[in-house]
């Protein structure tokens, strides 16, 4: 066991600056209006740095810097861009602990996860897109003996990216890596709840990127995000967040006729067929862990398996074991490597989760575990901690239908295959799902019948770069990860070329 020293204390592997400005055109610049806002850590609730409060003037400046850099960056050889991405990955790897502790302090998540998942996944993501861009090919279509259609991938130009607070560095990477690989310049707005860790990342990688290719404007959604989404100088907006903001971003994008990619959340079903309990073996243990995955990242994951569907024949046994498993989740100081669940990212998130636990109880759902805030003493007393909570109820209840974005799972039972699929698909969303079965046929059929973009089959919460991620239904538009993501940051140039000396014959 290791407990990392808190940033600001002696021996910490990371030191935050006392203030962060905007990163525009390769340098830090103060906000046009000179305003800053305080950034607390959810671990203790105390402020640890202050952040530039961006406005439309700052966004204009960043878009201008990106526009100035985009043409040259877009013309670089794929090998050159790949080399930059690989260097970014190497620098992150050399600073793994620093980035992991910064991310934990920023977001409240356990350092156990940032060390093993967030930062290693981000590193691999840069490497993946470094490889993908070098391997990408255009197309050639032979129209007739003398005519050829050449299809080239060209960058869009300047793209706007609005990053969520649940994985501040990893979600920024999901958007940055393909955009940069494809040859775009970026204006990125971090979430106002978690604006600082991206600057720790920049302190490690900024020197590797040509000035103006990556620009970071901090600030609030309404003051900085909105002018970015509306800016006539950007050629695409990528957003991860909630449905109403997603609709608003589409509305703004329609004003400039630009594409959007949206990832808007889910209410992912995690289905356990009866045969998972046919033996008390390694696979059963894995399935039990799969149930407990709702607590990963404090449940603040768009694909949180927040609805568990358990077949009636094994319900009592499986849930008995599952509740015991949840009881073993260790909650505490996020900087302790033994801690499995840390703090919710902000006070309002904490309050929202408690309001959902309240309506769950009012609707008659039974609390099988948790159901309260967690009172941690000492320095953590001011942080935002909630007990891992298991509800038993009915799929029509609001806790089964709305994204709570907390460590809360709502469990119901099903009788047969058709019943399971019907309940799984009875949701507005379709981002993730889990299927657990020892029978390959059942698992395959269920995976194909569930209306969701990612169906984890006998696993959950794995995010390899080479697997497409994105939503069906109201969960969004487009995909992230996988080389197909390059298409979302490129447009097609077709050269239609005639090699014939003869007139076409019209005039």
């Amino acid at each position: 066991m290791t407990t990392y020293a808190a940033p600001g204390e002696a021996g910490s592997v990371v030191a935050f600056e006392s203030r962060y400005d905007h990163f525009i055109g390769g340098e830090y610049v103060a906000p046009a209006k000179g305003q800053y806002f305080e950034n607390p850590t959810p671990v203790t609730g105390k402020v640890f740095t202050e952040i530039a409060r961006g406005t439309a003037e700052d966004v204009d400046r960043a878009v201008a810097a990106a526009t100035g850099a985009a043409a040259a960056w877009g013309r670089t050889a794929p090998a050159e861009r790949a080399a930059v991405l690989n260097k970014i990955a190497d620098a992150m790897e050399a600073n793994l602990e620093k980035l992991a502790v910064a991310e934990s302090w920023e977001n409240g998540k356990p350092v156990r996860e940032t060390l093993a998942a967030d930062i290693p996944l981000a590193i691999d993501h840069f490497r993946y897109f470094a490889g993908a861009i070098r391997a990408q090919e255009g197309g050639i279509s032979q129209i007739d003996a003398d005519t050829v259609a050449y299809h080239f991938h060209e960058p869009l130009g300047v793209v706007g990216q609005i990053i969520p607070w649940n994985f501040p560095i990893l979600m920024a990477t999901w958007k940055l890596a393909p955009a940069l690989a494809a040859g775009n310049a970026v204006v990125l707005k971090p979430a106002e709840q978690t604006p600082a860790s991206i600057h720790v990342l920049l302190s490690v990688i900024a020197d590797l990127i040509p000035a103006g290719v990556v620009n970071v404007v901090n600030g609030f959604g309404v003051e900085a995000g909105k002018p970015l989404a509306q800016h006539p100088g950007i050629r695409k907006v990528a957003f991860t967040g909630e449905t109403t903001t997603g609709r608003l971003i589409m509305q703004y994008a329609s004003e400039n006729i630009i594409p959007v990619t949206l990832e808007l959340g889910g209410k992912s079903p995690n289905i356990f067929f009866a045969d998972v309990a046919s033996a008390n073996d390694a696979f059963y243990n894995k399935a039990q862990e799969g149930f407990a995955m709702f607590a990963l990242n404090q449940g603040e994951v768009c694909t949180c398996p927040s609805r568990a569907l358990v077949q009636s024949a094994i319900y009592d046994q499986f849930m008995g074991d599952a509740v015991k498993r949840v009881g073993k989740i260790k909650q505490g100081n996020p900087l302790d490597t033994d801690t499995m669940i840390g703090a919710q990212a902000s006070n309002d998130q904490f309050e929202k989760i408690l309001s959902y636990i309240d309506i769950g109880k009012q609707e008659g759902a039974k609390v099988l575990a948790g159901g309260e805030k967690a009172e941690l003493g000492g320095d953590l007393a001011g942080g935002f901690y909630i007990q891992p909570t298991v509800f038993e109820g009915d799929n029509k209840m609001r806790i089964f239908q709305e994204e709570i974005f907390g460590p809360v799972v709502s469990v119901t039972r099903f009788d047969d295959y058709d019943d399971a699929i019907k309940t799984a698909n009875d949701t507005l969303y379709g981002l993730g799902a889990g299927v657990w079965s020892r029978d390959g046929n059942t698992a395959f059929r269920a995976g194909r019948d569930i209306q969701a973009g990612r169906v984890w089959t006998n696993c959950y919460h794995a995010y390899p770069a080479h697997a497409a991620f994105g939503g069906y239904k109201q969960s969004g538009i487009g995909r992230e990860n996988h080389k197909m993501m390059l298409d979302h940051y490129q447009q097609t140039k077709n050269l239609l070329v005639s090699y014939s000396p003869d007139a076409q014959g019209f005039f």
């Binding site: 609030f220 903001t245 509305q251 609707e363 709305e402």
Partner: protein
């Protein structure tokens, strides 16, 4: 009796007076989805385009705010919410998409209770 689907706490009324002074007429749209979702978003009236896929839950009247504040939700989401009464409250916090209150260091929040049979009769 009169019944409504949505109401405000005193703290929310006070904040709406302030936002109305700064931004003019206001509206709410209840968001689903992740991150800052499952929360009411406050915009200048007309900023968010509502349409056939939305339900108008009601108009809030606030002393000191000249125009009623319309509250909307997507119709699909309303199907799962229609048995509950909503009270818009305010908590300290940060971040709420493009909602107007975030720079104030606060955030609108929905508190819910089940509608009574009598209320449901009046509302349907």
């Amino acid at each position: 009796m009169t019944a409504n689907r949505v109401d405000l706490t005193e703290a929310a009324r006070a904040l709406l007076r302030k936002l109305s002074d700064q931004h003019g007429p206001l509206m709410f749209h209840q968001s689903g989805g992740c991150c800052d979702g499952s929360a009411p978003m406050c915009y200048p009236a007309g900023e968010f385009r509502t349409g056939n896929s939305d339900v108008h839950l009601g108009d809030l009247t606030v002393a000191g705010v000249p125009d009623p504040i319309a509250v909307w939700m997507s119709a699909a989401q309303f199907e799962y919410w229609k048995h509950t009464h909503l009270t818009i409250d305010v908590v300290s916090g940060r971040g709420s998409g493009f909602s107007l209150e975030a720079p104030e260091g606060v955030r609108f929040l929905i508190r819910s209770r089940l509608l009574t049979d009598e209320e449901l009769e009046h509302l349907t």
